[in-house]
């Protein structure tokens, strides 16, 4: 190609660029908004879920209890399924509830194999009987969920929190 083609090429490229920017830009706006829509997040309030009777809990003995309610996942609505679980421990007429989701990276927290308290089998975070952080990589203690007793049944506020941060930040 000779140098004499360049002015033509410059003009053609300009048309191409303008057309491309307008066309792609027009397509990009709804496409990108479509793609990022599910990522729109931010703190949400939890949902109160009725669980087990208070009498089924033993003082000082945490019990893993499923939180059953309706679950919406994109286009699916499942009626009365296990949304998650909580460790419930009776303290007199009150109940303490901890999320079973490890605040580190979200694995399921279990009772500690070595004594009272809890531990996470993924990265070996240990928590004491009050849910406080003992050692391991978890940046905070277990997340306490709001719980109240109504008509003899324990109600727990199902709520997720952001993982891996020192502060307890609600999500979803």
């Amino acid at each position: 190609m000779g140098d004499d083609v360049n002015p033509n090429r410059r003009g053609a490229l300009r048309v191409l660029a303008v057309g491309g920017v307008v066309g792609c830009g027009a397509l990009a706006v709804p496409t990108i908004r479509f793609l990022v829509a599910p990522a729109a997040g931010g703190g949400g309030s939890g949902r109160w879920v009725k669980t087990v009777p208070l009498e089924s809990l033993t003082e000082g003995e945490p019990k893993r209890v499923a939180l059953v309610s309706d679950h919406r996942d994109a286009w699916t609505l499942e009626k009365q399924v296990e949304l998650g679980a909580a460790w419930l421990e009776r303290r007199g007429d009150k109940v303490v509830a901890w999320s079973t989701v490890c605040p580190h990276l979200g694995c399921a927290v279990d009772r500690s194999p070595t004594g009272p308290g809890f531990f996470c089998p993924c990265h070996d975070s240990y928590f004491d009987a009050e849910g406080g952080r003992v050692n391991g990589p978890s940046p905070r203690g277990l997340d306490v969920l709001a719980a109240r007793v109504e008509d003899g049944f324990v109600h727990v506020e199902f709520q997720r929190f952001r993982q891996g941060t020192p502060d307890k930040e609600p999500v979803g």
């Binding site: 793609l35 990522a39 089924s56 994109a74 990589p137 997720r160 891996g164 979803g172």
Partner: protein, 591 residues
């Protein structure tokens, strides 16, 4: 003659033949055979992956309810499905290893040097995209390993400052990993990642035609078609190797269906165990930087090798690369050895292996439309066992569940068999029956004189002969029979009638039989009609303090450690499943 006409017709219009001839006949650098073999093997793996991948797409269904079921269908039901998925799985592992080897070898022969920098970077891109393909592909079976791996990965990304949370939600398709997260991974796996991967391979090859694969490649030259021939040979060997490994492994891994409620001890795929282990060295705010920046630095090191060698020395370049590879391998080995030596992990892992095997067997009968997890939750063997483990095994023993040393309630191995009933009637206070629970000394032996009875006082055993004991046991065992149970060998109707007579005459001093009995009004000994049947078992689990089972006193607070009622804790469905589990395992085992 006619064929040649067609050829001429096409050639005149497309010039394909001439283009192919000049493409194939061109002389290209043909040295550096090791690099060429590695590159050919990489390309062969990608070819196998593309072919088997498209085949798998024809049967795979990317939705939470159907993903596991469709992968199970491919692997265990569809003809040759295990071969296609096996080839796909092993080709992916091989691609990762070969791409890493190509980089390691390239470091030694300095194939990063000018003018091959871009080819070198493309090889790094190939390894990176392969890793991304393996990570997205790992989620597609929607099994425990894939699901938990992705939850953890999304949360690791979520630890990034400022935009971390947003990226995590982009990956998961929302605040929690769900249907959109799966379709996103799928789209990335089959379109978004393969396209640049193939482009990168094509770019490498286009440049290799001119420069050869490594320094010294241009010492020799050959027509390009010869190189393609040797590539095809390497490719054929790779395919044979993949077939061999697939046949040897028999099945590519498929774990139990993803269950976010389970206590699964999550571990990443083997190629991420290095990063998993790296995490242990960085806690708190350092964690994100330690586990993402450090691999980033390693990748940057390889990308900058052309300049590192020029500025420092070739020895430094090689030493750094060896340190990265050696360190990565050592950390991976450490992580695996740590797990292998951790009894807690080994036990949990074994439990989930068993669960996977059971789910795979169960699914062979078909998976319901609401998915494999719902299938598991309706199965006595899986859900019933799980409920027993969580709610019953603290007091009862059945099979491998429960602790025989701590059990305070009856051992249920053999429950419902004549042998269990005979042993129970003979010595109710044995440790495997009431010996360690609240019913201790509540039921007298039917044929042993009570120790507390003062000597000389009259005592008459309730059962006076072996024949009588066998008759009662037979009758009671038969009371529990369900039409769905394995048929019993024919029984002597006379013995059965005798058993019923003894039960209704003598046992009803304390027990109920068909609602009658308990002459002393103790309210403690259970109803014996339909004892051990499905309905009886369900009623006993739901609430022992009802007239058809253990009756009013069963929940008396004075009966310390009595069996609780479960109808408020458990759904009717779960009670049914645990009752079925206890019956079938009790009856098919012995004390």
């Amino acid at each position: 003659m006619r064929l040649r006409d067609i050829g001429t017709f096409i050639e005149e219009r497309t010039s394909l033949g001439a283009a192919a001839a000049s493409f194939l006949d061109a002389r290209v650098p043909s040295g550096a055979w090791v690099s060429r073999v590695l590159a050919s093997a990489v390309a062969a793996c990608v070819g196998v992956l593309a072919l088997t991948g498209v085949a798998l797409m024809m049967a795979y269904s990317p939705a939470p309810q159907s993903a596991w079921a469709s992968v199970h269908y491919i692997e265990y039901v569809q003809a040759h499905g295990w071969i296609i998925r096996g080839l796909h799985f092993w080709a992916a592992q091989a691609l990762f290893v070969l791409a890493a080897l190509a980089i390691l070898h390239g470091t030694f022969v300095a194939s990063y040097r000018s003018p091959r920098e871009i080819m070198w970077w493309l090889m790094l891109v190939v390894l990176g995209l392969t890793l991304a393909e393996m990570i997205t592909g790992g989620l597609l079976p929607w099994d425990q390993r894939g699901w938990w791996g992705r939850v953890v990965e999304a949360n690791i990304v979520g630890m990034a400052p400022v935009i971390g949370g947003w990226i995590g939600r982009m990956i998961s398709g929302g605040p929690e990993l769900g249907a959109l997260g799966l379709v996103r991974a799928y789209t990335a796996h089959v379109v978004l990642l393969p396209l640049p991967l193939v482009l990168a391979l094509w770019g490498q090859r286009a440049m290799a035609r001119r420069h050869g694969w490594a320094p010294g490649a241009d010492s020799k030259s050959a027509p390009y078609v010869r190189l393609l021939g040797s590539s095809a040979l390497v490719g054929a060997m790779v395919v044979c190797g993949l077939f061999a490994v697939t046949g040897w492994a028999r099945h590519a891994p498929l774990e139990a269906p993803a269950d976010g409620m389970s206590d699964y001890p999550a571990r990443p795929e083997w190629f991420l165990m290095t990063l998993y282990r790296l995490r242990k060295f960085f806690h708190g705010p350092m964690e994100f930087w330690g586990t993402t920046a450090l691999p980033g630095v390693a990748a940057g090191y390889f990308a900058l090798l052309p300049w590192i060698e020029r500025r420092l020395s070739r020895a430094v370049a090689i030493a750094g690369a060896l340190a990265v590879f050696g360190g990565a391998a050592a950390l991976g080995v450490l992580a695996f050895r740590h797990d292998a030596g951790d009894p807690q992990y080994v036990k949990a892992h074994a439990k989930w292996e068993k669960q996977a095997a059971a789910a795979i067997e169960l699914a062979k009968g078909g998976v319901p439309p609401d998915g494999a997890l719902a299938m598991e939750r309706r199965d006595p063997e899986l859900r019933g066992r799980d409920v027993f483990d969580k709610h019953c095994a603290s007091c009862h023993v059945l099979g491998d569940l429960g602790d025989g040393k701590k059990a305070s309630a009856s051992r249920l191995d053999g429950w419902g068999t004549t042998a269990w009933i005979e042993a129970m009637m003979h010595d109710p206070d044995a440790p495997e029956f009431f010996g360690r629970g609240p019913y201790l000394e509540q039921m007298p032996s039917v044929d042993v004189r009570p120790k507390k009875k003062p000597p000389g006082e009259a005592w008459k055993p309730m059962i006076r002969s072996d024949a009588e004991r066998k008759a009662v046991a037979l009758f009671l065992a038969k009371e529990g029979d369900e039409p769905s149970d394995a048929p019993r060998p024919p029984v002597d109707p006379k013995a059965l009638a005798e058993g019923e007579k003894i039960v209704s005459d003598r046992c009803t001093t304390c027990h109920l039989y068909k609602g009658d009995g308990d002459d002393e009004g103790s309210g403690l000994a259970p109803e014996l009609s339909r004892y051990g049947s499905l309905e009886w078992t369900r009623a006993q689990v739901a609430n022992p303090a009802t007239a058809t089972v253990y009756r009013d006193k069963a929940l008396d607070p004075a009966m310390k450690k009595h069996m609780p009622r479960f109808d408020k804790d458990l759904t009717a469905g779960d009670i049914d499943l645990v009752a079925r589990y206890v019956r079938s395992h009790g009856r098919s085992s012995s004390l």
